[in-house]
């Protein structure tokens, strides 16, 4: 005998999946970063079986559409035609390594004839080729594309375009200094190269410390680059030591830059050459307590900004305790 309340409960909570006539789920794309620097989107129109859905017939104009968030105009949208993949007959679009994309967050849509673009959900990503920080010397600029899942569960590609680029590597923090190792791409280190800390408050002066050439192995990275750096991407390991007392006193955020030589513009120090779209919470560093000459207690901590740029935050100890 079925209890009335059970009837109600069952009726109000319909089947999540009932095979015949079920509503088509939102399409997904399996993103694969290939070792040649290209990114492919294998589109699945239904997630039911995890298999690639049959391509819709007669839609020759189906495409994966990339749209740069918060931007409009010709370089804020890119259409990648979908074609049947030779391997398994599924629908595949390719973003070649050579395609230039502005820096930002590109939301990924499925565009079909006669239908408004539909936001794609992430499928199974394969980003292992990004982990080692391999670089592709196919073009005059350094481009990074990392597919990720937004907090609403959608597929987006985080992109960076830099030239030259200063990649931050290991950081060692002791009681008085930050020792930083990194790699400079697309520029030469001169004897006058220096690390610059630019205060967010323009009233404070820029801090400069010398930079020396250096090679160090970075955890999880290829010891030797997979692709030999070509003339467009000369790369050079560097090291610099930034004393905390140069950043005191006061409450301040310092953005770190590398100036390759007196006559060149500074290059932003960032960490973008891997598979992690948001470094801020993954690459976390300890805070150090430092007193300024007048005895005021400060807390100093390097961190990555939301754009994966390297910065150092200096706070008064008291304000640290308040937070």
């Amino acid at each position: 005998m079925i209890h009335p309340s059970l009837d109600t409960a069952a009726a109000s909570t319909p089947d999540v999946s009932s095979p015949p006539g079920r509503k088509l789920q939102r399409p997904r794309a399996d993103c694969t970063a290939h070792s040649d620097g290209s990114l492919t989107f294998d589109v699945r129109l239904s997630d039911e079986t995890g298999k690639k859905a049959a391509a819709p017939e007669a839609d020759e104009h189906a495409a994966v559409l990339l749209r740069l968030r918060h931007h409009h105009g010709p370089d804020a949208s890119l259409s990648l035609p979908l074609a049947r993949a030779a391997t398994d007959g599924g629908l595949r679009a390719t973003l070649p390594a050579t395609t230039w994309l502005r820096e930002g967050r590109w939301d990924v849509y499925l565009a079909r004839t006669g239908e408004p673009p539909q936001r794609l959900l992430p499928g199974i990503p394969d980003l292992r080729s990004l982990v080692g920080g391999a670089l592709f010397d196919a073009h005059a600029w350094l481009g990074v594309r990392i597919p990720y899942t937004t907090k609403y569960g959608n597929l987006t590609i985080r992109t960076w375009v830099r030239r030259p680029h200063a990649e931050a590597g290991t950081l060692r923090i002791d009681d008085a200094t930050i020792a930083l190792h990194g790699t400079l791409y697309g520029a030469q280190l001169s004897p006058t190269a220096c690390l610059e800390a630019h205060p967010r408050d323009p009233a404070a002066p820029t801090v400069r410390v010398p930079v020396r050439p250096d090679q160090e192995e970075h955890p999880g990275r290829e010891t030797a680059p997979q692709h030999t750096p070509g003339p467009q991407h000369p790369q050079r390991g560097f090291a610099a030591v930034l004393p905390f007392n140069s950043l005191l006193p006061g409450r301040q955020v310092w953005d770190l830059w590398l100036r390759p030589s007196d006559s060149e513009d500074p290059v932003r120090l960032a960490r973008i050459l891997d598979d992690i779209p948001d470094k801020k919470h993954v690459f976390s560093y300890p805070s150090r307590h430092v007193a300024s000459p007048d005895g005021t207690a400060h807390a100093v901590r390097p961190y990555y900004t939301v754009n994966n740029n390297l910065a150092v935050r200096v706070r008064y100890e008291a304000s640290v305790k308040e937070e």
Binding site: T13, S17, P19, V282, F283, Y285
Partner: protein
């Protein structure tokens, strides 16, 4: 057969949900399968229930739903069937008692499977005459309180079978509970074949994944990795998952100066995409009732370094062939095992391949076939009700003695039917 799983919540993201859906989907190839969720907290399950698996719920806990049950006065009354010895007692109520009871009294299923002790008590006491009654143990007998053990020894004789996820736990059940006439089978959790190609063993990452909970002993892993970094600073460790230990682990990483080598990654879904970025999986728990992440990593082609803790790892890993076992909590043994695989590329790749092959036995199709054998033989058993009645009497007699043996006085409060 019509097979019905009774689960606390099919909408959560825990291991029981995942393994239940895996099994349900594999059984659904041949059978009619439904998953009945006591509670519904979200509109859609976190994991895909899979092709042909019906999901329904008994108590709607979505505040904005027109059929929200959370404000029902009956839900404020304590449960009397769901036992207080079960850790989820506080979430249950007179309302859940009644709804679960109605479902079990009216079910058209041929087999009903409970997925935690409290629900198994419901299945044992309230299922109508006819269906095969199975109680699944996803944790272990050893981790239950004496009060719970006593309760189970009195109630489980009314089941046809109890399944555990390891042989070790099945032995414990046979030895400790003495359930006359009840089949006790160790049937492992299943893990589907990943949709990514396996790891090639070249990435210089050790990967761990699981809730950041004390029993996972990630502190031990981080300390072991400090030894690894001294010898191999080119390798890193990624730990996936959230949990209340995060702050402590963060401090330990900073204290040991490992912030360039050890990373707390947060949770990742699907996790298989993260396993294949690594070359070695590490599990340093003090307790693993099964060891789902070990199987997941092996199915992605990773050799696993694990502590030989109760109960799962030793039954999944063949030490020295598809992974390495180290004594529980032994930091230097763990770092030694990690370094052995890190320093020997060929060994690492070979063990990864062996892990890939060996872990195929956990495929849902294989595990479902073992379930099918069990369920079919139980469904064909004659005079189930009579045998159970006898079992119940005997069970009661055993339980009286157990009361003394397990050192428990008043064990059955909250379990009156």
């Amino acid at each position: 057969m019509h097979i019905s799983f009774l689960i606390f919540s099919a909408y959560g993201m825990g291991g029981t949900v995942r393994t239940t859906f895996n099994l349900a989907q594999a059984l659904a190839e041949q059978h009619e399968v439904e998953v009945v969720s006591v509670f519904r907290y979200r509109d859609k399950p976190f994991f895909e229930p899979g092709n042909g698996v019906r999901v329904r719920s008994l108590v709607d806990m979505r505040r904005r739903s027109p059929t929200y049950d959370g404000a029902d006065p009956e839900h404020a009354q304590p449960a009397r069937v769901f036992p207080s010895a079960d850790g989820q007692y506080a979430r249950h109520s007179a309302l859940t008692d009644r709804r679960i009871g109605a479902y079990l009294a009216g079910t058209e299923a041929d087999v009903v499977l409970g997925t935690r002790p409290g629900l198994n008590v419901h299945v044992a006491r309230q299922t109508r005459r006819g269906p095969v009654r199975v109680g699944q143990e996803h944790l272990t007998l050893a981790t239950h309180s004496a009060r719970m053990k006593l309760l189970l020894s009195r109630v489980y004789p009314r089941l046809d079978a109890v399944t555990t996820v390891t042989e070790a736990d099945a032995r414990d059940y046979r030895k400790t509970l003495r359930l006359p006439g009840v089949r006790i089978e160790g049937l492992p959790n299943s893990v589907p074949k990943p949709q990514v190609t396996p790891s090639d063993g070249s990435g210089k990452w050790v990967v761990a994944a699981g809730r950041l909970a004390p029993a996972k002993r990630y502190d031990v892993l981080i300390r072991a990795f400090a030894d690894v970094v001294r010898e191999r600073p080119d390798w890193g460790l990624r730990i996936y998952g959230h949990g209340r230990e995060r702050g402590k682990l963060r401090n330990l990483i900073d204290e040991l100066g490992l912030y360039n080598h050890v990373f707390l990654m947060g949770s990742a879904h699907p996790i298989e995409a993260e396993w294949v970025k690594g070359s070695i999986c590490a599990v340093t728990s003090s307790l693993e009732s099964f060891g789902m992440t070990i199987v997941e990593a092996m199915r992605c082609g990773l050799p696993v370094v694990a502590t030989d803790c109760p109960h799962g790892p030793g039954e999944i890993i063949r030490n020295g062939q598809d992974g390495l076992l180290a004594p529980t909590g032994d930091v230097s043994a763990i770092s030694g095992a990690l370094l052995r695989l890190i320093n020997d590329d060929q060994l690492r790749v070979e063990m990864g391949r062996a892990a890939l092959t060996a872990s195929a036995r956990f495929d849902p199709a294989d595990v479902a076939a073992r379930y099918e054998d069990l369920l079919t033989s139980l469904a064909g058993r004659p005079a189930g009700a009579l045998r159970r009645a006898r079992g119940t009497l005997l069970g009661g007699a055993y339980a009286a003695r157990e009361t003394v043996r397990l050192g428990v006085g008043h064990a059955l409060e909250g379990a009156r039917a």
